[in-house]
């Protein structure tokens, strides 16, 4: 059967989102970090792992723009290298929760019955348990490493996606084009894949964009607590933790903290604009309506 033409229509004018200066600024910041992540080995920086104890705790200077840490390592170099551990893992984390949550949520919403009950009750349980504590326990039990921190956060973050996905699928399931597809002989999985999922993907992607900032903060937070990145890996959260030990050396925590902040702000600005572009109620705000 040929596809129903309606479902090929593009999501409601996503490009509108990019007309906002805030979203553009966010995208540029993000792009800059991606470029840094790609070319950082080529930059004329000190080795982020090279220690020189004689040069520990040096304030920012011409030689070390961001100063040096407790082992005499160059903070600028470590901050720039840090994007290589934070960004790819955050992408993996959000993509992982998006996929796991979407699949479970779609199954729950589409199949209903026992499958729905089991999946959603497990999601409720994870919700009722405090996120950070669950993540801390899992991370501590698996042993500190960035990958384990990501696994811990995957376990606590999928239910949010599952809930939204389930609601979206429930809404789409009753639509005429879906019923028509089923009547024309499509099995449940085919129907889900061909008729339902394409129509709920846009809001799910916006949800993921809005979630990015949070996940980066949680991931860095776990590293800050010593449950993520292991020394000597340059990672922003653990670099801020180094700064706690030595308060007088303000540059230790300041620069990696600003790095985290810049990435999270960028994601939040983009996410906000995407949401406004998709939601007709808030979309009016872009043009500036009355009252």
């Amino acid at each position: 059967m040929t596809a129903v033409p309606l479902r090929r229509r593009r999501a409601p004018s996503l490009p509108v989102a990019w007309r906002r200066p805030a979203a553009l600024a966010g995208a540029l910041v993000l792009l800059a970090w991606v470029v840094v992540a790609l070319i950082v080995p080529l930059l004329p920086l000190e080795d982020p792992l090279r220690q020189s104890v004689g040069a520990a705790f040096q304030a920012p200077s011409a030689a070390h723009l961001f100063g040096t840490d407790q082992l005499g390592r160059d903070v600028l170099s470590r901050t720039l290298w840090g994007v290589r551990s934070s960004l790819p893992l955050a992408v993996a984390l959000v993509a992982g929760s998006l996929v796991i949550g979407s699949v479970l949520g779609a199954l729950a919403g589409y199949l209903g019955g026992v499958v729905d009950e089991v999946i959603m009750r497990v999601a409720d349980l994870v919700f009722a348990f405090p996120t950070i504590i669950l993540a801390m326990v899992v991370a501590a039990a698996l042993g500190p490493s960035l990958v384990n921190a990501v696994i811990a956060l995957l376990i606590v973050s999928w239910p949010n996606y599952a809930r939204v996905m389930r609601a979206l699928v429930l809404g789409a399931r009753g639509q005429e084009y879906v019923i028509a597809g089923r009547l024309l002989g499509a099995g449940p999985l085919t129907s889900l894949r061909r008729d339902v999922l394409p129509n709920v993907s846009a809001p799910m992607l916006v949800l993921a964009m809005l979630d990015f900032g949070n996940q980066i903060l949680l991931l860095a937070g776990l590293s800050f607590l010593g449950l993520g990145a292991v020394p000597p890996t340059p990672e922003w959260g653990s670099m801020v933790a180094d700064g706690v030990v030595q308060f007088s050396s303000w540059w230790l925590a300041t620069f990696p903290g600003l790095a985290i902040f810049s990435v999270v702000v960028a994601f939040n600005l983009i996410g906000d604009s995407l949401r406004d572009a998709l939601d007709p109620r808030t979309a009016g705000a872009v043009q500036g309506s009355s009252i």
């Binding site: 009750r121 409720d124 349980l125 994870v126 009722a128 348990f129 405090p130 996120t131 950070i132 504590i133 669950l134 801390m136 326990v137 899992v138 991370a139 501590a140 039990a141 698996l142 042993g143 900032g213 903060l217 949680l218 860095a220 937070g221 800050f224 607590l225 010593g226 449950l227 959260g237 801020v240 933790a241 700064g243 706690v244 308060f247 007088s248 303000w250 925590a253 300041t254 990696p256 903290g257 985290i260 902040f261 999270v264 702000v265 939040n268 600005l269 906000d272 109620r281 808030t282 705000a285 500036g288 009252i291």
Partner: protein, 336 residues
């Protein structure tokens, strides 16, 4: 009434769920709690391990263990912390009020400042003040709490000496006689205004740090829900018939926007706790957050279960209360 009963039942089910998840979690952890409890050397001796397992009831099947755990729970027995060697209930009784004091302070700050900002932003939509407030809100939800804590501590304590150092009281004061466990309240009850002042001074900086994320979250949601109400016909009618602006704001706008705001405050409790773990770590606050951190890193299972239970219970209670208020304010909810 029926609505209340259903909500209450749901909360109870969730609470049982939390006990199950704490229990399952602690049984599933791949780390070895016995080694954590006994230390490497004793854990190498099978006799000691067997004796320990028997003493802790670990030799019984998991289902039996769960019901033993549940039974102890009903007697207020959460086990003995492996780290502190105290009954977990006793540890929590000291740690919980510390976090509660901090969290209540943070929520108050966030709600008062957040609602004011959201109202200004909504009323002056798309003007400069609106855009500034929205920028503040994005910054609020984007700034890493732990970094903010470090930066604030460095600036206001280390450089400016405006605030006292870490902890809940200065070293030269004794904790006030314990009634509620909240130092500010207890000190006032005991007639020690200087101690209360000192406790409050210690509270301000970590409390503000903790409030920032909730504040940002609140501003963005409250602004859009106030905007929604602003467009309703009844608000236009109220304005058209000449009601004074202040009355429109209090009687119509804030009331109409109350429900979504309540929901956010309930949800914010979860993120507040994440913030508390990180903030307490920096300010050596000695609350649930720090306790949870110590327990997780040491794989101190009884403590972890205790923390999970109490925090889960608070979260569920807060959301139950919000649900009830919801049904009270909005009759439509009661039907569903």
């Amino acid at each position: 009434m029926r609505y209340l009963a259903i909500r209450l039942g749901l909360s109870a089910v969730l609470l049982v769920g939390v006990t199950i998840i704490t229990f399952v979690l602690t049984n599933l952890v791949p780390g070895d709690p016995i080694t954590a409890a006994l230390g490497e050397r004793a854990a190498g001796d099978p006799k000691i391990v067997a004796a320990y397992r028997e003493a802790q009831g670990l030799d019984k099947p998991p289902v039996v263990q769960y019901f033993v755990y549940l039974g102890n729970l009903l007697h207020g027995d959460l086990g003995t912390s492996i780290g502190t060697r105290n009954p977990v209930v006793q540890d929590l009784a000291y740690a919980f009020p510390a976090t509660a004091e901090l969290a209540v302070f943070a929520i108050l700050v966030a709600v008062v400042i957040g609602l004011t900002l959201a109202l200004v932003a909504a009323l002056r939509r798309n003007r400069l003040s609106d855009q500034l407030i929205r920028a503040v809100s994005v910054v609020g939800i984007s700034v890493p709490t732990f970094w903010l804590a470090v930066a604030a501590y460095f600036l206001f304590f280390f450089v400016l000496h405006w605030t006292p150092g870490s902890g809940r009281l200065s070293a030269f004061y004794d904790a006030p006689p314990r009634v509620t466990g909240l130092f500010t309240v207890d000190a006032l009850l005991a007639g020690q205004p200087d101690v209360a002042g000192d406790a409050l001074a210690h509270l301000v900086l970590p409390g503000m740090v903790l409030a920032v994320y909730t504040l940002g979250l609140l501003v963005r949601f409250a602004r859009s829900s106030i905007l929604d109400v602003l467009n309703q016909d009844y608000v236009r009618a109220a304005r058209a018939k000449g009601l004074p602006g202040r009355r429109v704001i209090t009687a119509y706008l804030l009331r109409g926007a109350l429900l979504p705001i309540l929901t956010i405050v309930g949800l914010a409790f979860g993120s507040l706790l994440s913030g508390a773990v990180l903030t307490e770590q920096v300010f050596a606050w000695g609350g649930i957050g720090q306790y949870a951190y110590r327990a997780s890193t040491a794989l101190d299972l009884p403590s972890i279960m205790g923390v999970g239970l109490i925090v889960g219970a608070v979260y569920i209670t807060v959301n139950f209360v919000i649900d009830v208020v919801y049904g009270f304010v909005d009759p439509r909810v009661r039907v569903g």
